[in-house]
Chain length 402, copies 2
Amino acid sequence: MYRSLRLRQRPKGKIVLLVLDGIGDITSSHSKRLTPLEAARTPQLDQLAKTSVMGRLTPVLPGITPGSGPAHLGLFGYDPLETQVARGVIEALGLNIELQPKDIAARANFCSIDTKGIITDRRAGRITSELNKILCKKLQAIEKIQETEIIIQPGTSHRFVVVFRGGNIEGPLSDSDPHIEGEPIRKIKPKSSSIKTNRAGSIVNQFYQKALLLLQEERPANGFLLRGISHTPKIPTFQERFELEAAVIATYPMYKGLAKLLGMKTLENNHSIEGQFKQYVHSFDSFDYFFIHVKGTDIAGEDGNFEQKVSVIEEVDKFLPILLNKTPQVLAITGDHSTPVFLKAHSWHPPPVLLHSQNSGSDKLSRFTEINANYGSLGIFQSKFLIRLMMANAGLYDKFGA
Amino acid sequence: MYRSLRLRQRPKGKIVLLVLDGIGDITSSHSKRLTPLEAARTPQLDQLAKTSVMGRLTPVLPGITPGSGPAHLGLFGYDPLETQVARGVIEALGLNIELQPKDIAARANFCSIDTKGIITDRRAGRITSELNKILCKKLQAIEKIQETEIIIQPGTSHRFVVVFRGGNIEGPLSDSDPHIEGEPIRKIKPKSSSIKTNRAGSIVNQFYQKALLLLQEERPANGFLLRGISHTPKIPTFQERFELEAAVIATYPMYKGLAKLLGMKTLENNHSIEGQFKQYVHSFDSFDYFFIHVKGTDIAGEDGNFEQKVSVIEEVDKFLPILLNKTPQVLAITGDHSTPVFLKAHSWHPPPVLLHSQNSGSDKLSRFTEINANYGSLGIFQSKFLIRLMMANAGLYDKFGA
C-alpha cells in the first residue's frame, strides 16, 4: 500500500536523518542513575527538543537486539525481516570491498584446530591484525577456483572476508562454523537446490581444502571458519522506493557500504562531527535526503565508557548549529539501536527519536532523553515507519483515500 | 483471530462513538502554543477525563494522512488497507445518492479544454455551483447507454458525480484525468480483464463522447474529468462483524452514506450538536451502538480558524450532559484524524481518544488533550482496534483461550 502513495510534489526542502549510533542507554548504579543523554550538557538539543515531537524506535521487534545492518535498513524504511543482507555482505562492505552484483561474500575468522581437525579455539587466541594480514596474503595465493576469482581482505584481530567472484554462482550456503569448540569444521552445503548454489558450494569447499593446506604449519591460526555466506541481495534502491535523491555522510566503511547498496551517494568528509555537518552544508543543494552517521556514541557504549559517550553527545551538540543554520525542512535524531554503557554491547532497548519540522507540532518536553521520549506523541514504533513520518512532515504525500 | 471471539452475551447497555471530526491538533507559534482542545473551556469533558482512560489513534499507519473514508472505516473496526472504498463511491454517498449494489460511481469535475482537446484548466476556473447544476442537467439528457442507466448529480463548485446503473457492468476503471494540465483527457481503460469490466469501460467511453458533444459550446466548462471509477465494494456489514445493531447520527451525507454502506441505520436530526445528542436520547432503546459525527471541528481546522475550532469544542462540551445523562455503557470520544488549524488540512498526527466506562479504569489525567493522551494507558494504537476495546468495556467478549 505504502508504495501506492504518490508524491504530490518534489521535495522543497531537505530531509535529514542524524544517526547517533547506539545512542539509547539505560540507567545503572554505575552511572548515578543517569543515562549519557541525561548527563550530557546539551543546550542546542534542549532548545530543539522544545519544538519537536518524540518517541522511541523498535528497530526490529520488541526484545530483538539488532546488528547494524538490519537496524539501519529499518531507519531507511526497509522491513529488516523482509530485506535481509547476509552477514558476509555486510562485513565485506565494512572492509570497503566494492562488491559486484553476483559476488558471494563470506565472513571469516581464523581458528585453531588439533591434529584430528577438531576446533580448539574458535578465535585462534584473537591473533593480532598484523599476523592476520600475513596469513591473508598467504591465502591469497589461491587466486581462482575454476572460473571463480577469490578475493581475501583482512579485518581486525582474527577476522577477515572472502569474496567469490564470477563463475555463475549463487548463495546462500550454510556456515562451516559449528559455533562451538570441540567439534570439527563443518562441510559447507548449499541452502537451495539450484544449480548455481550447488556450484557455489563445490567452489567454496574446494577453496577450503586448498586453504587449510596452506595454513597447516601455522600456530595458533591453522584453520578458519566461514559464516553468513551469500550473494549481494537485490534490493530496490532508496530512490526507487521513496523518490528521494539520497546521500550518506559517514566515517565507517560499513555504513557507507550499506547506504551505497541502496543507491545513496557517498560524500567524503574529514571524519570529524564538525566535518560531517560541514559536508552537509556544502552538499545541501544536490540532494533531498541526507543520512549523517556518527559512530562515536556506539564505540563509547561498546567500550563501557560513560564519560566518553557523554563527551561525543556534547560534541554533536556543540556543532549542531552548523546543521541547524542550514535549515533542514525535516530533521530526525535517533540511534539505529541502543548500546548501553553498562552492557558494553548492542541491546534491545528502544532508542529515543526526536523529530522536528515546521509541521511536527511539539510534545512540550524540555530535553531529548530516553525518559522524555516515553512521553512523546510518536509513541514506540517500528523504525521502518520513520522515513514515512519524515516524508509526511515534508508535505510530500497526498491523502490516502478520499 | 478477532472474528473467532464470540460475544458471551447480548449488549446490556449502549456503546457510543462520538467523533469530533479532525479534532487532533498541533501547537504552533500562531496558537500561543496551545491546541484548540487545550485552549477550550470544557468543564464537562474535564470531569469525564478524570474517570477515563486515554491514548492516541493511528488511523492507518504512522505517517499516513487518511481521507475521511479510510479514517472512518478504521473507527468502525475495518482495516482501512484491506477494505478500500473507491473515491467515486465515497463522493456519491456524499451527495446523498442511494447507491445500489452493482452501481459504478465516478467522481467528476468540469474542466476547460482547447480546440485540440488539451486540458487548459482542470477545474474550469472553479465555476459556481449554480452553473454546475445547469450543466449537469444538460448532461442528464443522456439517460441511458445501451442497458446502463446514467445518473448525474451536481456537487459544489466544479464537482459532480456520475453513476452508471445496470447492464451487467463492474469496476474498477482507470481515471480519465491525467492529473496535470497541458495533456489530453485520457481514454478510460478497464483495470481488470473481466468481461463485465470491459463492458463498463466501453459504456463509460461512449458516455464520454456524447457528453463532450453536449458541452462543446460551453465556456469555460467545455470538458470534464472522471476519477475513482468503481462499483460499491462488498463489505460485511457492521452487524455481521460485531453483532451490534448500529445507528448513525450525522449531519453530512458522506458520513451517513458510509455508515449506511456498512448497514447502519440513519437517524435524522436538526443538524445541531444539541439535536444530535437529543436524537441519541430519543433512539436510545432501539440500538446497541451509536455513531455520532460532529463535523464542525474539521471545518474549522480546514479553514485555519482556531477560535472556531475552540468554539465547536465548547459547544460539544455544553451539550454533553444530554448524552451523559442518558448514560452510555461505553463512550469513546475521538477524531477520525487530525485537522490542525496550522496546516488547514487533514494530517498524519494521531488524534487523541478518550474511553469511559464503569470498567475502563482511569489514567488520573485531569483534561482531555493531545499531550495528556500521550500519557494514557491506551498508548498509540491503530483505530481499527477501538471497536474491540469498546466492546470489551461493555463486557461482551469471552476470554480468548483458557
